[in-house]
Symmetry: D3
Subunit: 63 residues, 6 copies
């Protein structure tokens, strides 16, 4: 059952996503002692203009 | 008040979404005994490269 | 794959939850044309002091 | 630590987002008595065809 | 419509929640130019053993 | 920035959570090429009567 949401800044490659879900699934299955097939991950890529830290958009911080 | 998030793979038609929210709202109102107008649904469509089951992206599974 | 989150006010009975997930799963499977076994629902029960509409906690509105 | 998700209809300007995260962060820091730098906000913009109130898509309600 | 989720560490008083939802709702209505009554906030209080920063649970960091 | 939500069935020990966040954070930092300190994880433990697969509550499936 573990269902994970991964919120991350837009811009990773397909290969990075592929590696990420593989490694995170392994970590979850090992530490929570569950079947790998039971682990679901939903990736949510977020624009820099849709993330704020300390009241400032990431899009502005890097400008 | 019930607020639902429906995470689903991208690709359904507008007509399918229309039918889905209608039927799900009816089911919620009936079984939770609340007013239909109080039911909110947010649909989140997800790319196949952003979903993983068992450590493998859906985009790779169907390749 | 459809994964649903149902946010609702605390206080429904187990029987109501049982009926709700059954009916909502049927509605999803029928309208999105997917297998019932693929539908997952996570229920999130919320205290009246943790919900606000219009800037007022539900716990205060009913006081 | 406060982490906020703001779900809103698509269409606000960058300037509106900028003002929103600034003001909401100030409100959170002041009322929860925490450091502004600790407040994170994730904005989720939603299409009118992905929101339903009372079983009707917003896209249909305004048609 | 704006629907907010506020994830925060457990332990705030009812009065703090009351002030928080009031101020955040005002900030949202003002900056997004929407009706206050349309703003919904769901508070999610989280135990220190259910939050991790940098791979360390908050419960361990303060021990 | 990566912010993860981990939804899992209630019942893991503190030690399991401790190991899980450590390993998942390492996996995220390595594959997404980001600083470990930037990775936040929120754990959401769910009762068996609040999870449904195929329209049946987990609490009923194991009865």
């Amino acid at each position: 059952m573990p269902i994970l949401n991964v919120n991350m800044i837009k811009g990773r490659t397909l290969e990075q996503k592929r590696e990420m879900v593989k490694e995170v699934t392994d970590s979850i299955a090992k530490t929570l002692n569950c079947d790998k097939e039971a682990v679901r991950i939903l990736i949510n890529e977020i624009d820099k203009e849709d993330i704020s830290v300390g009241g400032v958009l990431r899009a502005d911080k890097e400008a």
